[in-house]
Amino acid sequence: MLRDITLGQYYQTDSVIHRLDPRVKLGGTLLYMISLFLFENIWGHLLAALFLAAVIRISRVPFRFMVRGMKTILFLILITVTFNLFLTPGEALVTVWKLTITREGVRMAVFMVIRLTLLIIGSSVMTLTTTPNNLTDGLEKMLGPLKLLKVPVHEVAMMMSIALRFIPILLEETDKIMKAQMARGADFDTGNLIQRAKALVPLLVPLFISAFRRANDLAMAMEARCYRGGEGRTKMKPLIYRRCDYIAYLVILAYLVCKVLAGVLL
């Protein structure tokens, strides 16, 4: 039940996409997201979808895993669609009571669904093919120049990687505590809102205690290994661009050019 959350969940397999430098994937994902909102025409979106399909194909991650992430934001998509459908002014198509669906509204709603879907799946591809550690390494390196502005880039990256590392651990812990309380007759799925909120106490108290205990243990372990922050710290595996990374940049660039051309010409 709780395991359906794909966010920050890595899918272990071997593919070109998995082996790419995380900076390429971060930058590529960002550019891809921007490209989705650049122009509004069906050919452009088709191109974006084809590009994404090709990347998924190469990544060897089963398509099911991409869609898993969608479940969590289905609600958001529904709201966006509803608002777009009814609140866009324009030529009226159907009127039900005081609500009017317009031709422009339908168009907006359809494009919004396509964009959001591609956006979520696109970012899922990144998190599914990159280990959290790799991802934060890439982020740290990309944001490196901000250090000149006294932004604590290393500390932020470290915090992120710890947070990401804790997600599956805490999910597992939640699952365990939930089961342990269910074995004592606790009931998490029935009752009204107040009863349900109350039922969460036996789950949340042990969960917080365990989170603090783990955080404490981790801090101790880091101290014991003389961690003192980013100053003068070197990497065991520094990120170095290889040939396939440059090729990937070229591919992304080619995609962007095509997307812009499709937007301008069609």
């Binding site: 272990q12 365990k176 004592r184 106490v201």
Partner: protein, 285 residues
């Protein structure tokens, strides 16, 4: 049969790339009033099997029957099942949440919807059974020692007055003294109440002397399911899967190999001593 496990298989995360069967075609009968040891090394599927017995996990294949009724049937009352089959998880002290010990033990019976006097009566009785003195009832569970916390957590399940009590590695992470105390308490409980106890462990020494029956698990399958003597007779096979018979078994087998006519089936130190005495008195004569 109180519980009957019929050809049960279970797969975690169906469809994940690395998933393999955590349980593979398990068949078991668990009668009333029996002390059962469940042994297997880490990852052999012990915890997974135990969570099936009170309906926390639903088999991927196969069925489980409680008093002849399928527990995954739609109209089956799983809350009732969980009060009859009490499951104490590994590291149960991690589930404590109330402000004082007594209130925490009351949580289980309260969920069963019992009247207040009954709830408090059961909680007091359960705490007494695990040897927590009255002065501690009003203490915060987090002030207690590791062994005490664990006993409070066990009391939390006992207070539901189950007919079958499952303890998943109740001695894990305790020092030898805490371990002995917990095991002693479980034995006493068995003597007093005659409930069925399933004691899960990865160490034979924990269970060898007291249980009526041992179930050995390996890679999601049941390897042996028999009385202790019969199981320990396979001590070489047990070794191959990373388990060991009690040390007495090794000594007696070594003595036998060096020519003494001792009883290799002895599982306790008393039996071994008795057998040795017999042999030596025969030699002396």
């Amino acid at each position: 049969m109180a519980l009957k496990v019929d050809h049960v298989s279970y797969l975690y995360e169906e469809g994940m790339p690395l998933s393999r069967k955590a349980l593979d075609d398990i068949c078991l009968d668990i009668p009333q009033d029996q002390f059962i040891g469940v042994i297997g090394h880490t990852g052999s599927g012990k915890s997974t099997l135990m969570q099936h017995l009170n309906g926390l996990l639903t088999p991927t294949e196969g069925h489980i029957y409680y008093m002849g009724r399928d527990i995954s049937a739609k109209d089956f009352d799983r809350k009732m099942l969980r009060s009859k089959v009490g499951l104490v998880f590994q590291y149960p002290e991690h589930q404590l949440f109330e402000t004082d010990v007594f209130a925490d033990v009351c949580f289980g019976p309260k969920n069963l919807g019992l009247p207040k006097e009954e709830i408090e009566g059961r909680a007091g009785e359960a705490l007494e059974k695990v040897g927590i003195p009255r002065e501690m009832y009003s203490m915060s569970p987090f002030e207690l020692s590791g062994g005490q916390k664990r006993r409070v957590a066990i009391a939390g399940v006992l207070a539901m007055q189950p007919e079958i009590l499952i303890l998943d590695e109740p001695t894990a992470g305790l020092d030898p003294r805490g371990r002995e105390e917990i095991l002693d308490q479980i034995r006493q409980l068995r003597r007093q109440t005659h409930i069925t106890v399933l004691l899960v462990s990865h160490s034979m020494e924990d269970v060898a002397e007291y249980v009526d029956r041992i179930i050995v698990m390996n890679q999601g399958r049941i390897m042996y399911d028999d009385v202790p003597k019969a199981v320990f007779a396979h001590y070489r096979e047990l070794e191959q899967v990373g388990l060991a018979a009690p040390q007495v078994t090794y000594i007696m087998n070594a003595l036998k190999e060096s020519g003494l006519e001792v009883d290799t089936q002895a599982t306790t130190i008393q039996e071994a001593a008795c057998s040795l005495r017999k042999v030596f008195s025969a030699v002396g004569r």
